[in-house]
């Protein structure tokens, strides 16, 4: 039996396979060194970086719920200076043989531009920037840009001017029509779109009557959001020309294959990593098995191939 190719292209870059880690669920990669063979991943998307160091939210920050997880980390990060210079972050990421995507965020458009410009000057080892306009857990910035078409377009074009690194824009599902946002960010220079980020959600301890996380509400991820994420990816992939990265509740190869059939060029595994850090590798080998079983030599032959009468 011939070799199966899992290679996909995201704009100018080639991924050895379509399986990425979702931002915020795989740290900066170094945390999994020795546990997960990083060089077998399609790529790593690192935790959101801002121009300034950020404490993030008070604890508790996560709560397990049926079929998912609510989180409100609040984008804690060391800030762009430390990200660029400290051995745990960019210098480490440059040493590993996999694609690296840096998730960026800010409170203002200037913040986004500042991070992008700093990374433009340090672009060695960076395969793309993922513009996070969809975090539901911070007071300023984040989702404010992702739920207003005008602002979304402005952020993306401002970042586009600051860098020639390939741009991915991460969309929020908390909008009337996600397709409008996808088209808008592509029109303003995004090379790729990724979706989805989390849904605002709440869980209450009925004994203490207190919310389970400090900020009261947080973002829901995990198994429960998968069918909704899949539908959004399906809608977006048919509406735009550029590649789509699909995510939301991917736990198995079967989940990932659904996203590929719905039109995702690549997929990201997030919350499932907390249950089993090997999930991305299991997804990769499961996709390969599926292709062999169905006599498909090239993964690109199944992308978008949902069959609808």
């Amino acid at each position: 039996m011939g070799d199966v190719s899992l290679e996909v292209r995201l704009g100018d870059t080639v991924l050895r396979n379509p399986v990425l880690t979702a931002s915020g669920t795989f740290g900066y990669g170094s945390e999994y060194l020795g546990l997960v063979p990083l060089e077998r991943l399609g790529g790593i998307t690192v935790k959101g970086v801002s121009p300034f160091p950020s404490h993030g939210n008070s604890t508790p920050r996560t709560a397990e719920v049926f079929a998912g997880l609510i989180n409100s980390i609040g984008l804690q990060n060391p800030g762009i200076d430390k990200f660029i210079t400290h051995a745990d972050y960019l210098p480490f990421l440059r040493t590993i043989d996999t694609n690296v995507y840096v998730n960026i965020w800010g409170k203002t458009i200037d913040d986004y531009v500042e991070v992008a410009a700093r990374l433009e000057a340090e672009r060695e080892g960076i395969d793309g920037l993922e513009i996070n306009i969809s975090c539901p857990n911070i007071k300023e910035g984040g989702i404010a840009f992702g739920t207003d078409l005008h602002l979304a377009g402005k952020v993306v074009s401002a970042v586009r001017e600051a860098t020639s690194i390939p741009l991915i824009t991460k969309l929020s599902p908390n909008v009337g029509n996600i397709v409008d946002f996808a088209k808008c960010v592509v029109d303003h220079g995004s090379d790729v779109v990724s979706l989805i980020n989390t849904f605002p959600a709440l869980s209450i301890d009925i004994e203490t009557r207190r919310p389970k996380i400090y900020t009261v509400t947080g973002g829901l991820s995990g198994r429960g959001i998968k069918p909704i994420a899949l539908k959004m990816v399906y809608d977006v992939a048919r509406a735009i020309e550029v590649p789509v990265i699909g995510m939301g509740g991917i736990f198995t190869a079967e989940d990932a294959i659904e996203f590929l059939l719905a039109g995702a060029r690549a997929i990201a595994v997030g919350t499932a990593i907390f249950s089993d850090p090997q999930t991305p590798l299991k997804v990769i080998s499961g996709i390969e098995e599926y292709l062999r079983k169905h006599d498909v030599n090239d993964i690109n032959d199944i992308i978008g191939k949902i069959s609808v009468d």
Binding site: P53, G68, N71, R223, T271, F274
Partner: protein
């Protein structure tokens, strides 16, 4: 540098009710077991329970590196520990470990005081077992049935003193009421190792700092990834930032911290 960590399909050799809500579980885990240092933990995936998405962290109570085994002591308090408590022998359980930073080792001339509240005895037992000197072990709990592994501590040569809130066993009152005279009786270098509820750790930390005694505190924060990737488990540590503190990941840089590193709420006004 954190030492190597592994992901291993461990096999339950024994999982039995220890007393009350407490259970003792022993795994065959030949990859993890030889590398365990006092104060480290494993992150345990509950089998057959996809609705319990997150792993649960447990201090490693004891190991036998030759036999390739490790044991935990846990209190069945919720869905995860409840599900764990009914798993039979031979069940395969996926473990990540050993995780976190160890309790730093005392030198031969240092006197050791262990202060363990509730299942805090689980994270401190290996300190006593591997110590080059001996000392005093204080076990505190709500009542007699929450006082665990007293005999095992005694066998390590440590003197054991007990306190219970209700006076059903040992001193009636708080563990800190035993700690104060013990600290003040010392002449020379003492190191304190503590694990228990956060309020107890704060009290132990304060008493030790007032006396310039080194205290290593092991914190139980709720965790998600267990390896430093998600920023769930953070605690305030002093640093040079404008606020004077930063959030550090307890799973990666802890769970053990020197009391002097912790940013106490009382530091706010300084």
């Amino acid at each position: 540098m954190s030492p190597s960590k592994f992901q291993e399909n461990a096999v339950i050799l024994e999982n039995s009710n220890y007393r009350g809500d407490y259970f003792l579980i022993t795994f065959s885990a030949p990859k993890i077991s030889p590398h365990v240092l006092p104060g480290q933990f494993v992150h345990l995936q509950l089998p057959h329970s996809p609705e319990l998405l997150l792993r649960r962290p447990f201090s490693i109570y004891n190991t036998n590196a030759e036999a390739g085994t490790l044991s935990l002591i846990y209190k069945a308090i919720g869905a995860g520990t409840g599900a764990l408590s009914i798993l039979p022998r031979d069940t395969v359980v996926n473990l990540l470990g050993p995780l976190g930073q160890r309790f730093p080792q005392a030198t031969k001339d240092q006197r050791i005081i262990i202060a363990a509240g509730g299942y805090g005895c689980a994270s401190t037992y290996l300190v006593a077992k591997t110590a080059e000197s001996t000392g005093l072990c204080l076990l505190g709990a709500r009542n007699k049935s929450d006082i665990l592994v007293e005999d095992e501590f005694q066998k390590t040569g440590f003197e054991v003193q007990v306190s219970t809130d209700d006076g059903s066993y040992g001193h009636k009152g708080r563990i800190t009421e035993l700690l104060i005279p013990a600290l003040d009786a010392g002449n020379g270098d003492t190191v304190v190792y503590a694990c228990g509820p956060n309020a107890m750790l704060a009290a132990v930390g304060r008493l030790c700092m007032e006396r310039d005694t080194i205290a290593y505190l092991s914190y139980d924060m709720e965790m998600c990834c267990g390896v430093g990737a998600c920023f769930t488990c953070v605690i305030k540590r002093k640093c040079d930032s404008p606020d004077g503190w930063e959030y550090v990941r307890t799973c990666k840089y802890g769970p053990v911290f020197d009391a002097r590193e912790i940013y106490w709420e009382s530091d706010k006004s300084n």
